[in-house]
């Protein structure tokens, strides 16, 4: 499909997303498939951090896209930044799911699996696992910001839109979270 060439290793950028959205709103199903394919890995990864297991994460990710598609046609068509919009939906779906399951803490067993890329060396792999575990142990608000910034590679402004926090608050909480992670990592190294 012609739109598949738009997706590269890094996913789609904002201009490409706008182009795809316009095509989707004019009825191009190929563009819809491309849009979903481009954002599915990110949303699934986000849902993995916020749900109990892989099955729930996949359900949440799928429900996110279904809701987004229904919203695309409402009220004169979608306007605004698509990525924060998608993450907001995913966030709310995960909250509802956890509320149903009465689950608030992420257990270490439910963390997403192996990192995306392969790197040789036991030490590097162990460090990554440590960082993931330490991230899971952060306070929920700080963890959310760290995941959105470093796992999902969102910009600070987008994070502010998704969380509803002022930009400065996002910056200061992120700084505090990084400081905490660094301290915890140094403590782990000393052990």
């Amino acid at each position: 499909m012609i739109w598949d060439v738009l997706i590269d290793r890094k996913g789609v950028n904002r201009i490409q997303t706008e182009l795809l959205l316009r095509k989707v709103q004019s009825g191009d199903t190929g563009a819809l498939d491309t849009l979903i394919t481009a954002y599915y890995p990110q949303i699934l990864n986000y849902c993995r951090w916020h749900t109990a297991d892989e099955q729930q994460a996949q359900d949440a990710a799928q429900e996110t896209f279904l809701k987004a598609v229904r919203w695309l046609d409402s009220c004169g068509g979608f306007q605004g930044a698509f990525r924060p919009f998608l993450y907001k939906i995913a966030k709310n779906i995960c909250i509802d799911l956890n509320r149903t399951m009465e689950r608030s803490e992420i257990s270490l067993e439910s963390l997403p699996g192996e990192p995306a890329y392969q790197e040789s060396g036991f030490a590097a792999a162990e460090e990554k696992a440590n960082l993931r575990a330490l991230t899971a142990q952060l306070e929920p608000e700080q963890r959310e910001l760290v995941l959105l910034r470093f796992a999902q590679q969102l910009k600070l402004r987008e994070i502010a839109q998704i969380t509803g926090l002022p930009l400065r608050t996002v910056q200061s909480r992120l700084r505090a979270a990084l400081k905490t992670l660094k301290m915890q990592l140094e403590k782990e190294d000393w052990r």
């Binding site: 290793r9 890094k10 996913g11 989707v24 709103q25 004019s26 009825g27 199903t29 819809l32 498939d33 979903i36 394919t37 599915y40 890995p41 990110q42 699934l44 990864n45 996949q58 799928q62 896209f65 279904l66 598609v69 229904r70 695309l72 046609d73 409402s74 009220c75 004169g76 068509g77 306007q79 605004g80 990192p115 995306a116 890329y117 460090e127 990554k128 960082l131 993931r132 991230t135 760290v146 995941l147 470093f150 796992a151 999902q152 590679q153 990084l178 992670l181 660094k182």
Partner: protein, 243 residues
């Protein structure tokens, strides 16, 4: 140091981009996505014209004619026909015209009457801009007629007249529309009182003899006012204060 740590953290938490979207999801999304037939900008403008444009212009023209006739009968105009009074009168007319649309906008907001916007690609902001442009077109014609009449009585250039008459006129008209973003419609009449007072103060400070001449100046002022208001009205954020 921090950058190195952030890079390391990004790599540790990275997303697997090779995860493919399930085919069932793609099929379901295609089934959910119903493409609606939408009209374009011209159709929307034509629709707005039928709904709003000619009725409001007719209303304004009738109101202006009625005021003029009553004033002539009472011999008011010979005594009161100064430029300042004319400016104040025009500002008042502009505000009253803007207020006419308020009950409609309030009801549309309260009951989420978005059928017109949903039929187009235009969202919520653009129909409002169109309504503004249509109202402005009618008021510009009215203003043009008044300018010609005033010029007969006052020996100034058309450029000076346009500059002096249009700025407070447009400002008064659009201040009320912009107030919709912050003031609830049922309080608009109260909100309009300080605007009236502000317009009167504005007129007090206008030194007409110091204004430069030239139609380009007046045209520039007019265009600037229109563009600024269009930009602000076309903003996507809510333009009516919610209760």
């Amino acid at each position: 140091m921090n950058r190195a740590f952030e890079k390391e953290l990004s790599r540790a938490l990275a997303t697997e981009l090779d995860t493919a979207a399930p085919k069932t999801l793609l099929r379901r999304c295609r089934a959910e996505h119903v493409v609606k037939q939408r009209s374009d900008w011209r159709d929307l403008l034509h629709c707005q014209f039928k709904l709003l444009g000619w009725k409001v212009w007719a209303l304004e023209a009738m109101a202006a004619l009625a005021l003029y006739s009553v004033g002539r009968e009472l011999a008011l105009w010979e005594k009161a026909w100064t430029l300042r009074n004319a400016l104040f009168g025009l500002s008042t007319l502009a505000m009253l015209t803007a207020l006419l649309g308020l009950p409609f906008l309030y009801r549309a907001s309260q009951y989420k009457m978005l059928e017109l916007e949903q039929a187009t690609y235009a969202g919520i902001g653009r129909p409002l801009v169109m309504r503004f442009l249509l109202l402005l077109a009618g008021e510009t014609i009215l203003l043009g007629v008044l300018v010609l009449n005033v010029r007969a009585a006052v020996p100034w250039s058309i450029g000076q007249l346009l500059a002096v008459l249009t700025v407070p006129f447009l400002a008064a008209n659009n201040e009320l529309l912009l107030l919709l973003r912050w003031v609830r419609p049922e309080w608009m009449m109260t909100g309009a009182v300080p605007l009236f007072a502000g317009q009167m103060c504005l007129l007090r400070f206008v030194q007409l003899s110091e204004l430069p001449k030239g139609l380009p100046l007046a045209a520039g002022v007019l265009v600037l006012c229109m563009v600024l208001q269009c930009i602000r009205l076309a903003a996507r954020s809510e333009y009516i204060a919610e209760g």
